[in-house]
Amino acid sequence: MANWRFVLIALCVAAGVFGLTAWLNIDYLFFAGYVILQYVVLATAWNILGGYAGYMNLGVSAFFALGAYTTIALQTAFKAPLPITIPAAGIVSGMVGFGLGYLTLRLKGIYFAIATLALAVVAETFVTNWEYVGGSAGAYVLHSRQGPWFGSYTEYLFLLMLALATLAVVVARRVERSQFGYGLTAIRDDEEAAEASGVPTLRLKLFAAGLSGALMGMAGAPLPYYLSFIEPGSALNLSYAVTTIAMPMIGGTRTWLGPLIGSLLLATAQQAATVTISSEINLLVMGVLLVGFVMLAPNGIVGWFRSR
């Protein structure tokens, strides 16, 4: 399928989803849908580096929170609206991904994974100590009940996240079917052979780390508005990382479809479960699912269907 045709279909699907939810006009639907779409962005973004290239980023929460805190900082300083803070969050998180990658991606993938995990802790230290964005006490973000154009503010946030999710999926598919994506796949399969065949491995990995980080940061940018209140402990919760990694693992990491399926399934189930059972059990299920799928179905749902 040609790329422009896929973009068109993706836009139609997004428009259809928005049209349907706007027609139903239940505020809870926007509220829950926002979280589901946020995970679509996170899982798809994670998969660009983690799935295609096989470099595991365990610091998802750091990139995500970085986006959220970029919004807070810009909001406090210039009263910047979301359409400005989202790209800004993308730039900040992308640069951190690029920088951390530059320092560690020359080594084995394991060192990168450990560095990202440690990054989550240091990001928490950083925002806890930075009084300007609320420090350990957290920060409130007030917004009107009405969205800037139409409908409620939740509907507006939902629409923004829908646009981000569409962007992420289109980008991931574009990457997958480009020379860039083939290079990443070669890195995953055998990095030394790829290097020997002339694949510029370090450059591709760096670019993937930056792109992946940027999308994760953009997913985090609207979070302060969504929650109205943000503090380091909740923005940097490890559960964001576990859920984000579990989704592509469950869906399948080799194609753009895997994280999409995984995130839609898991996040919807999670939203249904939060209403009915306690959030701790919810998290426990997420962790058990991650461990279980990694052990038993290494290629996820998509891989399972392909192998039949």
Binding site: T104, L117, E280, V294
Partner: protein, 292 residues
């Protein structure tokens, strides 16, 4: 704030003592990572599980926490060998899947933490022992026993492990498996069995280190996370799999952290370990004592 001479000396002593504890905490991870090629990022969390186990044993049988830690070591050894069987069956046997193994341990770490929260809540827990509240004073210099006792325990543990690795047949086989598992097969030793024992020993250390954790400070389920950056900074900086290297790296980190506490502020100390980790990875990935 003015930095006085006794303040500086006390910070250095506390850093030295904490460094010994960090070495004990890191040794299980460095054995698994450096010698067995198993990147157990859940090791600090296992130590926190150990700390809660110590808490339960102390409360139930009314024994000393350090003794409880020693008593728990066989249990953790058995759990470690079992975990290695699972890891071997699902990951190592299939080859080239270190990254999925990493996701496995990451998931385990999270599951362990959630289970601890469900069982014990997020309140701070502590145990009682005479030495926890005692401090020896030498003039202006204070040596808190809650740090000194784990320090001594850590040194004993490290020495015992070093003797095991260098003097016993199985210990030498563990060192050999890191270099050439195939050669081990040629002398009729199963690498899987050796790795299972070694991973069991690494996990057993988490039981005793759990006692150190709860003696040093009140316990909370997520403290394991704060240790991850430190533990792997120490592992890498010390040169993977080297026990003397681990001790030197851990004490250096303890000293730097405590100095940064008095010069910059306590809330920044997690950043110190991260900085050390990134600097090491960027400029000397084989560590202080690494081979080339």
């Amino acid at each position: 704030m003015t930095v006085t001479y006794p303040l500086l000396v006390n910070a250095l002593i506390a850093g030295l003592l904490m460094g010994g504890f960090y070495a004990a905490l890191s040794v299980g991870a460095t054995v698994a990572f450096g010698l067995l090629d198993i990147v157990n990022i859940a090791h600090p969390t296992f130590a926190v599980v150990g700390a809660y186990a110590v808490l339960v044993v102390c409360r139930t049988f009314n024994v000393d926490p350090m003794l409880a830690g020693v008593l728990l070591m066989p249990v953790f050894y058995a759990a470690g060998t079992l975990l290695y069987r699972v890891y071997y069956h699902f990951f190592e046997r299939r080859g080239d899947d270190a990254m999925r193994g990493l996701a496995f341990f990451f998931g385990l770490m999270f599951v362990a933490e959630v289970v601890l929260i469900m069982l014990f809540g997020v309140d701070f827990r502590y145990v009682q022992a005479p030495y926890i509240t005692t401090t020896w004073n030498f003039g202006a210099i204070a040596v808190p026993l809650r740090l000194a006792v784990p320090f001594v325990g850590s040194l004993v543990m490290l020495a015992a492990l070093e003797l095991f690795l260098k003097k016993t047949f199985i210990g030498r086989a563990v060192l050999a498996v890191a270099q050439d598992p195939f050669a081990l097969r040629l002398v009729a030793v199963s690498p899987e069995r050796i790795k299972r024992i070694a991973f069991g020993v690494a996990c057993a250390s988490a039981g005793l280190v759990g006692a150190f954790i709860i003696v040093i400070e009140p316990l909370q389920p997520s403290v394991g996370r704060e240790f991850i950056g430190r533990v792997f900074a120490i592992c890498v900086f010390g040169g993977l799999g080297s026990l003397p290297g681990t001790l030197v790296a851990a004490i250096s980190l303890g000293l730097v952290e405590n100095l940064s506490t008095i010069f910059i502020g306590a809330s920044w100390s997690p950043a110190v370990a991260f900085g050390a980790l990134v600097v090491t990875l960027a400029w000397r990935p084989s560590g202080l004592f690494g081979r080339g």
